[in-house]
Every structure is written in structure tokens, then in C-alpha cells.
Symmetry: C2
Subunit: 669 residues, 2 copies
């Protein structure tokens, strides 16, 4: 086992066995995961021949039938519990097993049955409940482990329930398996009838000839010589790049030790770029002010976990070509290992032009093709799907692209209501509400070492006397180095095309005389639209800025807190959030830092998003910026030396007749 590898199935079983043996009461295992070694210890081992870090697991357990939360650290070498810490007034994530509870108990609850009967629904096997964490509900606190359930109807087992939302929600205690309330939303004192119109998309419902099989001819993508990367355990080597691919129940994919062999560095050593990359939070606040919709603001990573929600992927459906899959092993509530086969997909894609230039005089042309390495996972968060593509290209760029697809969250409209302005009527009497998706990418940089700084770069007209700028064309990048964490809380500025350079101020490029760096390019980062003093904005305070820069601290990972479920947004000494970290206002210049990069989109639903949404992409990028002394991909053979024998000509050109000349640019290519 490498030191960053996820727990093996055996280690998960060992952990639960050890914990069970040392617990006075029966426990439910919420999560069992690798406790990564403290950074200093790991780095000493990795870089300086220090001792091998001890392998430990961290478990969150709930004594059965209670709402207590206990963190247990197990030393997997000594096979002993090292710490057992109860944390008050917090709630751990809701696992898929937890979410199943609410559907099970709702179907048989008399109040729920009554609420359905009033709508004319008597067959409770046709009523489905999507369990959600509860955004805000003042009626209960941490004495209950809460869930809310959104109710839907299906006309048949595979029918699309999002076409038939019911007008009530159910509040449940997950641990005691009790229904606490059935909240019926009446309009003018009336119930809203359920829409029985079907809107399906599964082939079981396809009418004859709905699918057109002859329209799109197949595109085959093959790699007759296999893939260009090598796996050594969970470490991948591709082109000049190396990294470790981890996975856990909460962050899902974790990329560590990202480094690159610099073709121009004669020392032939790998250069460090990032210590660790992962998506640590995702916030989806809905924009309808009407009750009960204010409760819908999901923290999908902090409340459910990217790992627990991971899809098992399938060849040719999720990605094409030659695919390397990795499994994920997580845990069940009994502490047994839980397998998600093919949870991680690793593959390459052609990425179009890497570069091209033609000399217009003689037509001498050179071009090369770029290549992507894509490490991806897809998760299902009740109705929504998120596909995360961590992408590396030959020019040294890292890009995280997220594709959003799946199903809109829908609600029924009473005849006296209309969707506008807080939503769109995406089918008859079916409301899809405005919402935002704000992701937080945690970047632990290591640009040529651990001491880094962040320099904000704003494109501005030159502020110099007119005689030095007679034509008014002068412009420059105004550079601001962040000194402390409060400086490092930054918003994107469109007017200055703002970017941020993560640099190593101690290593200046011999060529450019600028510090070596990687540039954060992040323009798709909508402002949080909830009011700044709202509970939504307090709970999701991380989403208020495009960038946060903080000093590195071990185990500070999650900007909305380690425990997000039922969080209030108020200060909790054992459940700190990014607001607490920033308030310390510690130095962030020329030290070990961490960046939280927020990006995402504001979604005003369209009819085209129903009954299943076309994937919508959103991305953030980190580009080498004066890091390499020149284009780092000059080793890639240009196309003229690397014949592509698979591409073919569809047929001859159209429009050519009795032409006497040829263009300079065209003639000699």
C-alpha cells in the first residue's frame, strides 16, 4: 500500500472489527476512510528519506439509535483505537443507506398516507421519496438527525417521477426512523392536484420509431497500441506527468503529488506542481422564496459525499476508447467494505491542435496534435448528475470540467400560481426553480516547493503620463501580492479579466525574470445570489468569493465545515468553516498555502432541460505561467512525422472548376 492509497477492503474490515471490539454500545458506521498522514510527516518521508508514515483510518460512527457523533482513529499498524472523540451539535453526511430510510418509513406512515389519499393516491407503492439533507428547519436541532423527503408519484415502476411531484414534504429522524412532520403546502387553503401527465425518456416508454437508429453513424475510437499511460499501483505516469489517484467517500477523486519532468531542466528531476487537488464542496441553493423551497440548498459533497454517490461506469457509455477503470471500496453501515466497480475512469482523448504555424511566404507548415489525459468520476445526487473530468493536456494545463446533467428538481404549480419569476414552467403545471451550482476546487499548490504566494493580476490601462502613452494604447497587468488570508478572499473581476498567479517567489524564471507560477483562470464563478445575511449565505459562506487563499493546516479541508448537515452557519469550535479560517487573517505570502477556487453556474431552467437535461459544461483551469522556460510540448512529434493512417477523406472538394492559380498559403502545404 502506498501512503495515500485509499483503505483496502481488508483495512476497512479491520477498522470496523477493532472499533466494534472497543465500543461499549452497538455502532453504525457512517464512514471509514484513510486518515492521510500529516503533511510534514508525509513530505519528510517522500522527499527526505524520513520514516514511513503510520497508516491510520478515521471513522465516523453513530451509536445505534442515537444522534451522537463519534470520530474514531485507528492505528492500522498497531491495530488499536488511538482516539475516540465525541463531537456535540454536529451531524455527519447522509449515506445512501440513510436516504433509503425515509422512503421506507414514509410509505407506511399514516399521516403520509392521509396526505396522499387527499390527492386521490391510494397505492403507496407508487409514491417515491427523495431523501435530502434539511437546509433549515427551526423546529428541531441536534437532538434529531434530520432528513426531509420530497414526494413524487409514478404511474408505473419506471415512470419518471419528476413529472409528478406532490405538494408535501416529510421530515424524518434518520436514526429513530420516525416521521416528525408532514408539511403540506396549501395555496389559498387548497391542495395542488398531482399532474398525471407522463414525461418519460427511458426506452421502455419509447413509442415506435421514436429513436432514430440510422441518423448518426458510429464513431469508433481505438488505440491499437494501447494507452500511453502506465499505472504503478495508483500512481499514474503519462507523458511527462506523474500523480497519485486517491478516492474517498467524501471528496471522491483526490489527485496528489502532481509533478512533471521538465524537458528543459538538466537536473532531470520532477518538478512539483500541486500537492493535492480535489473538489471539496458543492452548493446548490434554490431561488424560490416560497416555503418549503428555502430548505432546498444542497451541499452535495458535505451532506452526501462524492464518493458514496459515485456511479459504476460503463465502457462506451460514459467514455470511449481504451479505458482504465479503478474501483472504489467504501463502507456499509455495518462496517463491511462496499465495492463500487469502475468508479474512476482514466482515458486519453485527442485534443485537436496543440500548435500550428504556416509561413505565409513559402507555405512551410508545422502542426502537432494535443492529447488529453482525463481522470473522471460521475455521481448521482438524487435528481442531478455531476460528471467531474480532471483533465491534463500536453502544454502543462490542468482543467477541471464538470458536466451537469440528470433531472431538474420539480414542483407542482397550483392553478392560481405561475412559475415566473422564480422558476420556469417546463411542462404543464410543472415548476423548475431557479438555482445555482457553486463548486469549490481545493488546490494545495506546490509550485517548485511548498513556499508559494498568490499574485492577483488585473488587466488595466496604463496609469502613466499622457506623454509616455501618446496613443493611449498602453495596458498592463496590475499585480497585487496577497499578504494575509483576508487579502486572499477575492472576487472575480470581469472588467480587468482578473486572474491569479500561484507563484514560488523564491524561484525566478531565468528567462522572464518573473517568479515561476501557475495561473488560475476562473471566470465562470457566479456570485451567490442569496442575501448576504441569510442563513443560506452563512451556511455556504465559501460560495461568497471566487477565491480564498489560506495557510496550509493539516485536516483543514472542507470550507463549509467537516459536518455540514444541519449546520447553522454560526461558529462552532469543533466544526470550523472557511469564515473561521479567514478570520484568523494569517500570513499567506511565501508560505505553504491552499487555494479554494469557486466556480459554477446559475441555472434558469429551460423547457429543453426536461424531461432529462442535456449536459451543461462548466470549468476552471490552471495554466503554466512562466513555469517552463518554453513551450513544454516541443517533444511531441509534429503531425508530418507522425502519420495518421486512420483519418480519411469523405470525398472530393466542391466548387472547384477551371482554376488557374493557387494561393500562396495553400499551394505549398
Amino acid at each position: 500500500m502506498l501512503h495515500l492509497d485509499p483503505l483496502s477492503a481488508a483495512e476497512i474490515s479491520q477498522t470496523s472489527t477493532i472499533i466494534r471490539a472497543s465500543s461499549k454500545s452497538e455502532v453504525k458506521f457512517n464512514s471509514i476512510t484513510l486518515l492521510e498522514p500529516p503533511k510534514a510527516e508525509y513530505v519528510a518521508f517522500r522527499d527526505a528519506g524520513g520514516p514511513r508514515p503510520t497508516r491510520r483510518s478515521l471513522s465516523i460512527v453513530i451509536p445505534r439509535g442515537t444522534q451522537q457523533v463519534v470520530e474514531v482513529t485507528v492505528n492500522l499498524v498497531s491495530q488499536k483505537v488511538e482516539s475516540w472523540r465525541e463531537i456535540k451539535d454536529v451531524m455527519p453526511i447522509l449515506t445512501l443507506e440513510d436516504l433509503d430510510v425515509v422512503e421506507k418509513i414514509s410509505r407506511v406512515d399514516p399521516q403520509v398516507i392521509k396526505a396522499c389519499n387527499e390527492l386521490g393516491i391510494t397505492d403507496m407503492s407508487k409514491v417515491f421519496f427523495d431523501g435530502w439533507a434539511i437546509g433549515v428547519d427551526e423546529r428541531w436541532g441536534f437532538e434529531r438527525r434530520l432528513q426531509q423527503a420530497l414526494a413524487y408519484y409514478r404511474t408505473s415502476p419506471l415512470d419518471n417521477q419528476y413529472a409528478h411531484p406532490l405538494d408535501f414534504t416529510v421530515i424524518a429522524d434518520t436514526e429513530r426512523e420516525e416521521i416528525l412532520s408532514v408539511d403540506i403546502r396549501t395555496v389559498n387553503g387548497e391542495r395542488t392536484p398531482v399532474s398525471m401527465k407522463e414525461h418519460n425518456y427511458l426506452p421502455e416508454f419509447a413509442e415506435t420509431n421514436q429513436y432514430k437508429f440510422d441518423v448518426l453513424k458510429p464513431i469508433s475510437i481505438t488505440q491499437p497500441q494501447g494507452v500511453s499511460f502506465k499505472m504503478s499501483g495508483r500512481e499514474i505516469h503519462w507523458a511527462n506527468l506523474k500523480m497519485h489517484i486517491g478516492f474517498n467517500y467524501r471528496e471522491g477523486l483526490v489527485l496528489s503529488d502532481i509533478r512533471m519532468r521538465d524537458p528543459y531542466d538538466s537536473s532531470n528531476k520532477d518538478r512539483k506542481i500541486f500537492n493535492r487537488l480535489s473538489v471539496v464542496e458543492m452548493f446548490v441553493p434554490y431561488g424560490s422564496p416560497k416555503s418549503p423551497h428555502h430548505k432546498k440548498h444542497a451541499f452535495d459533497i458535505g451532506e452526501y459525499g462524492s464518493g458514496f454517490m459515485a456511479n459504476s461506469l460503463k465502457l462506451g457509455c460514459d467514455c470511449k476508447g481504451v479505458i482504465q477503470y479503478l474501483d472504489a471500496v467504501l463502507n456499509t453501515s455495518t462496517g463491511a467494505p462496499l465495492l463500487i466497480e469502475n468508479a474512476i475512469c482514466i482515458h486519453e482523448e485527442d485534443n485537436g491542435l496543440l500548435y500550428k504555424h504556416t509561413d505565409f511566404r513559402d507555405g512551410r507548415v508545422i502542426s502537432a496534435r494535443d492529447r488529453k489525459l482525463v481522470i473522471s468520476q460521475i455521481l448521482t445526487a438524487a435528481n442531478y448528475e455531476y460528471a467531474f473530468y480532471h483533465t491534463f493536456t500536453l502544454d502543462g494545463t490542468y482543467k477541471l470540467e464538470v458536466k451537469l446533467t440528470g433531472m431538474l428538481n420539480t414542483y407542482c404549480l397550483h392553478e392560481s400560481e405561475e412559475s415566473a419569476p422564480f422558476g420556469t414552467e417546463i411542462a404543464d403545471r410543472l415548476d423548475a426553480q431557479n438555482h445555482q451550482h457553486i463548486f469549490s476546487l481545493r488546490v494545495d499548490p506546490e509550485i517548485d516547493g511548498s513556499n508559494n504566494s498568490v499574485i492577483q493580476s488585473d488587466a488595466v490601462p496604463a496609469d502613466i503620463p499622457a506623454e509616455q502613452n501618446p496613443y493611449g494604447n498602453g495596458f498592463m497587468a496590475k499585480k497585487t501580492t496577497f499578504k494575509t488570508a483576508k487579502d486572499g478572499a477575492a472576487s472575480y473581476c470581469h472588467e480587468t479579466s482578473r486572474t491569479w498567479d500561484i507563484v514560488n517567489p523564491n524561484i525566478v524564471s531565468a528567462v522572464s525574470k518573473k517568479p515561476v507560477g501557475y495561473k488560475i483562470v476562473n471566470s465562470q464563478c457566479p456570485a451567490l445570489l442569496a442575501k448576504p445575511d441569510s442563513v443560506i449565505a452563512k451556511r455556504g459562506s465559501f460560495a461568497q468569493k471566487s477565491l480564498w487563499v489560506l495557510p496550509y493546516r493539516d485536516y483543514e479541508l472542507f470550507p463549509a465545515g467537516d459536518y455540514v448537515c444541519q449546520s447553522t452557519g454560526d461558529h462552532h469550535p469543533e466544526n470550523l468553516t472557511i469564515s473561521d479560517w479567514v478570520a484568523r487573517d494569517e500570513p499567506i505570502e511565501n508560505t505553504d498555502i491552499v487555494c479554494y477556487v469557486q466556480f459554477g453556474l446559475t441555472h434558469f431552467p429551460r423547457t429543453e432541460d426536461f424531461p432529462i437535461m442535456p449536459a451543461e459544461p462548466v470549468s476552471v483551469m490552471l495554466r503554466a505561467s512562466n513555469f517552463f522556460e518554453k513551450n513544454p510540448a516541443l517533444w511531441v512529434p509534429p503531425s508530418e512525422l507522425d502519420e495518421d493512417s486512420s483519418s480519411t477523406n469523405a470525398n472530393s472538394g466542391i466548387g472547384r472548376d477551371r482554376v488557374q492559380g493557387k494561393s500562396t498559403l495553400g499551394s505549398k502545404l
Copy 2:
């Protein structure tokens, strides 16, 4: 010939023969192109059985040895000159033949030779001159057809000249083939020595083993059943989409009559989306205020022409898969047809997930793959390369992606100078200056007909009483319908995630109750950084806004004017710009409108951009927005019914050992 097809070689020859016969003096043909029929005439023919539009050519000619500019219209049916119009104080684009002139005459000019000798250069065959339009030069006006030439040295014929810029520029009269001035830039009264250090990237210079041939394994992309589109002349049919593919010397690619068969429209008619799409201008102002760099602000389309600069494309190098090429036929200065073979590339690409959803209860999963239709061209503008990819996907989205590559414009640094803050030293004593690239995409919409409006949409917190928004989460799209052209001059707003809906206000979606529309998504649109009163900002006034909306007028196409070379930015009654069009402030609501969408990027060069730039993408998108009554791609067979037999598994999963459970999400897929 269809009515929008480019002139054939025969028609070009006919045109030049007719013009030559009716001209008193010898003429040089600047351009010969199709004069598209007036819209009303074309639409009457297309939609209402009106008479067939007469086919006409429009030529710009220059009486030999003069700087006069004459527009000649030829009726290709009657074979007669219909109009002959001299236009004063304008200059047409510089053709590649024109640009060759300056290199030829500079090499033998005594002043130029002297300027080179002073730098120790005696072999003039090693000195190269990139001809450019002149940005601003007060010394001459329209009595001269001006060019400036940037001077470079090559140590050998294929050596990269951009590593050896010389410290002077040459000003020439293109028509009289005279050198007007050699402008030597001295620093502290001294010349700047030419850097003789080579920075090459062509295989001829590759040292042994520089290229690594075994690192990237081939990716083969094949379409065993051929492409999914059909060409009928220059009309393409793909999936539900149809359009005409035109091409001319100035705009390059022109897409017309873009329409789509709506799977949910029982009338089975094509629905109109766009009348015409093309990139009509591109502005590249440089940001160094030092003379002579203020003269470098290129209007690549208006000053040189996307068509004239088009590359002849090559299988597997520019695009992979099964490729349909179209040739372009332009003209030489003698009026002969000029062939650019394979100027246009049409191909399909797999585009990843079209949609996906998994029911978390039972694991029922559905997904389908998206497909791109890409219509592209690549052009070389002296040092820079621009690749334009007009892309359509199955969800009805149109995206224009531009990839920027090629060579940085470089200049020599005197030993007393440094690059910062107006550039980056990208190699020893080699300055690459800050610059911007601002493109203008002209969208002539036809959303379900010709009468359209534009509605600005700003995501804003709900401005309603607190009791109606108790949790502060309410937000909405504030809608502003543009009434007149001055309203329609809009900037992007990041804080509100601003978008613009092009709608047909007369056709309201039965489902959403909103007018049918297409949304302009354009966040990559940097502000022009030149001072607002500068000649740069006046000449490139179109680049001052992200969007302009204007009423349609025949032959109003080019926002920086029909004649951009040597334009001053001042009003010229026969060479109107977008400033003139907007000043009319005409109604733009519920009428035939045109949108100019500006997008691009601000480039602070990096060492990684040298000696040849990795392609940098930038894009703008138009998405269906309540145009279709639901997801328009439900006809695409889902992956489970459309087996992909080409994808393969690299090898088995890593990390699986003694696992007892499987995840709900994973187990039943």
C-alpha cells in the same frame, strides 16, 4: 448554383473579363466576390415562391499605379457592369500579393540595406519583412496605399525569424512600390543589436532524440459507415439541422439559412434559427505605449480577410476522422480564379455525455452520447494562427470556438530596457508585448421568423419585501427588452451572470409561456483596454461593447467599416462603422435585427508561448432557450441500445480485495 454559393471560378473569370472590357485603364483586382441578393428578395424567393434572385458579383478594383478604389457590380446573368463607383479616402484590404510587395522592395532599398548594415547584417536574403496594415501614421493619408513592414533576420532559410526581430520598421506605398520611410527606433541614441540566438521548432532543427516517438500511442478515429451528414451542393443536412456553407475572401466561412426540424412540431416543417452567421471582425491591439508599437493594432478580417488568409487543410493534421473538405475559389490581382484546396473542413466528433441519469434506488441508468458537427477553417495572419470551429451539438447549441496559436509578435529589447510592465521577456532580450484579441461574431437571427427582439437577463436577488422572502434565498432573472440600438449596446456583467435572449416575441412557448428564443452566453469578452478617446478605441469602436443589436440593413456587415485599412475612426459617409449605425438609434424590438457579439481574450505572453504557442481556446455560445418544447435530442438512441464495440478495457480494477457488499448505485447498472 445556389443563390448563396460563392462565385465559381468561371464566374470570377467572367467578372474580370467584363470589368476589364469596360475599364478605360488597366485595373488591379483587389477582390471579386458574390454580391448576395438583398434579404427581402432572397427571402421572397426562398419562402414565398418569388422570382429567382439575379446573380451578381461585387469587385473592388484599383486602377494600376493609383490609390483609387472602385466598387464594380457585375450582373452575371446579363453579363454587364451595373455600377462603377469610386470611393474616396478609403483603402481596401491588403491581399497576400500586396503583402509580398513590401518584402520584395525592402530587400533592395538602399535605406533599408543601410539600416541592416549598421546592425552588421549584409546578406539581405536573410532579412524578412512581415507586411502589416498600418495602424496609425500621421505622415501620410489616402494619397498613399500604405503598409508597414516588421523586419526580422533568419540565420538560415527555415530558421524562426521571430527569435531575431530587428529594431526598425519600413513604411511603403503598395501601389507605387516605393519605400516611404525606414523608421529606426533608437534607445538612448543607440541601435539595439539583433539577437542571434536561435529558437526553432521545425523538425529540420530537432536535435537527435528531441522528439519522443514512443510516448504517445496512436488514437485512431474511424467511421466505418461514413459520416452522418449529407451534402447537397453546399447545403449540409446533419441530424435535424440544415444550413448552407458559404465562403468569401473577407469573412471566410459564412453559414446561412440555419434551421432545424423540430421533433415535437407536428407540422414537420423546419424551424428557422439563424439567417446568417459569420465572424466579421477581429481586433488585436498591442499594449506597449512605446513607438512604433502603437501602430500594431491589427484588424485581421477587415485589413487582410479571413478568406484570403485561409490555410489549405490536411487530413489527420488539422482534424481527425472522416473529413469532408470544401475548396475555396478566390481571385488573383489579375482577376484569375485562385484555388485554396481544402479550405473548409467538415467533420463530426464524439462529444461525451449528451445526458445521463441513474435512479439511486434501483440503479436503472440511462445515458446517451452527444455528437458535434464541426465546420472549420484556419487562417494565418503573419505570425498568428486562428482556427475557427463552428460547432453544433445535438441539444441545439451553436458554439463558435476559436483556437489561437502560431507565433508571438516579438521585438528586440535594448540592454537598458526591460519588458515589464508592457510585455514579457519570453527569451533572452526578446520582448513579447501584451495584446488583446477581440472577435466579432455577427448573428443575423431568424428565431421562428424575421421579427425578433433581444432581452437582457440579469440574475439578481429578489427585490421583494422581506416577509415574502423570509430566508433571503429568492433570486430571479431581471429581464430588460432592448427598445432601440442605443439600449442594445451592452456590456457583459459578471455580477449578474448576464446573458441575452434573442426571442421571437410573437411566438410564445405553449409550455413555458415565455417567447421562444436562443440565449447568447458570452462571458469571455474582455473590455478594450485602450483609452476610450484613443485612435485605437475609435478605429475599433466595435470592441467597446460585448453586444450590439441593430436593425437589419442589406450590406451592413462590417462593424469597423467596409474599408478598415488606414481608417481614422472619424465619420466617413461612405464607410460607416457600428458607431454610425448605433447613432441612428433605430428601433430594434420585434423587427428584423442583427447582433454583433464580441468575445476574445487579453494575452499577457508567457515563456510557454515561445517559440510556438500552445493553442488557447476561447468561445461564445448560443443555446436554445424555451425554443423546443423539451430536450430536442430524445430521438438519439441511448447507449444501451447503441452498442459501442470499439471501446475496450485497459485492464482490471485496482484496489478490489475481499469486498462483501456493492453500492446501491453501482450494483445494478
